[in-house]
């Protein structure tokens, strides 16, 4: 048993995938924490290990090919990595819930949405069929699905993407979990719907007092929702700070690149239109990671030492950690 003042404390988590072509170090020595009731943003480009981190917390990594190699995930005095699957089932959904990127495919097509929400009450609170369906209607009303008493009898394909994501949120928050892991909950939605969903999540967060781990590659979402931010690159945390510091004084060249790639109002009006993506190149394949700092091939400030040795994640100032040689003495 380990104790921690944080609600969720991830320490030195390593989750690897053992593939035919080699070992994909999808999450490699990742540490961060989440406090009661706060919103933590997790950002990074596609493939940098955000979803794998989330699935590791839920113990949803498919084995084979994946495995949590080492590390601790402390939640309420429990190390989730060490729990049996049976113990884990008491936590999943009930105390830590998760919603996914694709509302179109995340609901089971052959059951009504009412059934799928009601299942949470039957499973975790042992409600009767009738009572759980009534509570499902209530829950759908809370996530602002119009005509919920009618909608509970509909199938996912009869709902729009935004409505389905509301149903997913209703399902996730049904048992008032302490943590909600939202894995890119708005990426697949229209901009207006995105804003509605984010508003809804903010409101429900206060009502239910849930901490949210908000995974995204959209810094706009972070600016709107998160109090603190963890920036990930190729399976490593490269920067961690409160949202204001990240936006006002980004330290890591990767974070700066991400910020510069954000479109700003008036960009098009400027004489020289800037390219949307400011970072050269692509995220390296996990099977062919570069030596030293994993970002150095794309880094505008790369030095000789970056090619040779991986920098450590160091505390630069209170609540601001960076993994970069620019701020370290080798």
């Amino acid at each position: 048993m380990s104790h921690s003042s944080h609600l969720l404390d991830v320490q030195q988590l390593k989750t690897y995938f053992y593939l035919f072509d080699g070992v994909a170090r999808a999450v490699d020595d990742v540490s961060f924490y989440l406090d009661r009731g706060e919103v933590l943003g997790v950002v990074g480009e596609s493939g940098c290990g955000k979803s794998v981190t989330a699935q590791s917390i839920m113990r949803l990594i498919p084995d084979p090919p994946g495995r949590i190699l080492s590390g601790r995930i402390t939640f309420d005095g429990l190390d989730l990595v060490q729990l049996s699957m049976e113990q884990m089932r008491g936590i999943r959904g009930k105390r830590i819930a998760m919603i996914f990127q694709e509302p179109m495919t995340s609901l089971n097509p052959v059951f009504t949405v009412g059934d799928q929400v009601a299942e949470m009450f039957r499973l975790h609170e042992h409600c009767s069929r009738h009572e759980s369906l009534e509570r499902a209607v209530e829950m759908l009303a809370r996530v602002q699905v119009p005509a919920p008493e009618k909608r509970v009898h509909e199938y996912p394909h009869q709902l729009s993407g935004g409505m389905r994501q509301r149903v997913m949120i209703a399902m996730a928050l049904a048992c008032q979990p302490q943590i909600l892991i939202a894995d890119e909950p708005t990426t697949a939605l229209d901009v207006t719907v995105q804003a509605q969903i984010l508003d809804l999540m903010t409101r429900l967060k206060h009502e239910i007092d849930t901490a949210i781990m908000m995974i995204t590659h959209d810094l706009g979402v972070i600016a709107e929702m998160a109090r603190r931010v963890v920036v990930m690159y190729a399976g490593k945390v490269v920067e961690e700070a409160d949202t204001a510091s990240i936006f006002n004084h980004p330290r890591h060249p990767y974070t700066r690149g991400l910020l510069k790639s954000m479109p700003r109002i008036g960009d098009r009006a400027e004489k020289k239109r800037r390219r949307l993506s400011e970072i050269q190149g692509m995220v390296p394949g996990l099977l062919a990671l570069p030596e030293g700092c994993r970002f150095h091939p794309r880094c505008p400030d790369a030095m000789a030492v970056c090619r040779r040795q991986l920098p450590a994640l160091e505390l630069l100032e209170p609540h601001h950690k960076v993994r970069c040689w620019l701020y370290l003495s080798a």
Partner: protein, 321 residues
């Protein structure tokens, strides 16, 4: 839903009409019914009389209309050989074939789906590799070989199961059943297994493939994330999706099973329709053959319609189509 069912029923009727046309052609132009009925040594007058009695002097379209009219009333004429109504002759044999085909299909479905799920969950376990290899055997081995092997092992060598016939039967109304006696079941086992093998192997492979695909779907990840136990995830959330195509195929196979039963019934001397139809073909007993074809078409079309409706119930997406 109602329009959907109505549409399927009309489609079925059209197909049935097509089959009836083929039957009429067989009936009218294959073999000479007059010769069969009147005998080789009849005079010209006698033959003309038979021709008129059978209505064969009328124009073809009148004959066809009469054929349809009679068929719709369940009258397909009398067997040339036994001189009793062909339909009665076949219906008498129907329970035997139906019981065999139903048992075989149920066996194939339950075993196929059960083993398919098992294999999908642990594809690398050696027992499951063995099951997969076995299913390949089940698909490629001819029915008669399986039947003969079973007879050799269980009837001839071990002597625990009877090699032929239907055993002791009980008659309830018009239905003669072998399912109410131990002896009847003993006789049923080997033919049912023989008939089921191919179907079982197909359903097993279909279930396994479907299961492996469905288990990677997002909604299964959602089900795990809800905290559901494995049994619920697999048998509620995954299997329901896998079953949509499996039930369709199993239903359609039921028609095939009845058709394949000709071979199985011959091997095990099973007194069913398949056995009867084989004899009738050899004896050019057209009314019996035609009745059988019409009846088989009717059954297969009915089954297909039921399967389509079942599919609509299982798959909410097409219910409103």
């Amino acid at each position: 839903m109602a329009t959907y069912i109505a549409k399927r029923l009309i489609q079925g009727l059209v197909v049935l009409l097509g089959v009836s046309m083929i039957c009429f052609i067989i009936f009218r132009y294959m073999g000479d019914p007059v010769l069969t009925m009147a005998g080789k040594y009849a005079t010209f007058q006698e033959r003309e009389e038979v021709r008129r009695a059978l209505g064969l002097d009328k124009p073809t379209y009148v004959q066809y209309a009469r054929f349809i009219w009679n068929a719709a009333h369940g009258n397909f004429g009398k067997s040339y050989i036994s001189r009793v109504p062909a339909l009665g002759l076949i219906l008498e044999r129907f329970p035997a074939t139906f019981e065999l085909a139903t048992t075989a299909t149920l066996l194939a479905f339950l075993m196929g789906v059960g083993l398919g799920v098992l294999v999908a969950l642990k594809p690398r376990a050696w027992q499951n590799r063995l099951i997969m290899a076995g299913s390949l055997g089940g698909i490629s081995m001819p029915t008669f070989l399986i039947g003969i092997l079973l007879i050799m092992i269980f009837a001839v060598y071990a002597g625990v199961l009877p090699p032929f016939g239907r055993g002791q039967t009980v008659t309830i109304g018009f239905w003669r059943t072998g399912l109410l006696t131990v002896d009847g079941w003993k006789h049923l086992i080997m033919p049912a297994v023989t008939l089921a093998t191919f179907q079982l192997a197909v359903l097993l492979r279909l279930t396994r493939a479907g299961m492996r695909e469905v288990l990677t779907e997002d909604y299964i990840k959602t089900a795990w994330a809800k905290g559901l136990p494995p049994l619920k995830v697999i048998f509620k959330h995954a299997l329901r999706n896998v079953l949509i195509p499996v039930v369709t195929v199993a239903g359609l196979q039921f028609g095939e099973v009845i058709a394949y039963s000709i071979v199985t019934e011959t091997i095990f001397q099973w007194p069913g329709m398949g056995n009867l139809i084989l004899t009738s073909i050899f004896e050019s007993d057209q009314p019996v053959v035609v009745t059988y074809i019409m009846l088989a078409a009717f059954m297969i079309i009915s089954i297909n319609t039921i399967v389509d409706i079942l599919y609509a119930i299982l798959n909410p997406k097409i219910r409103y189509a």
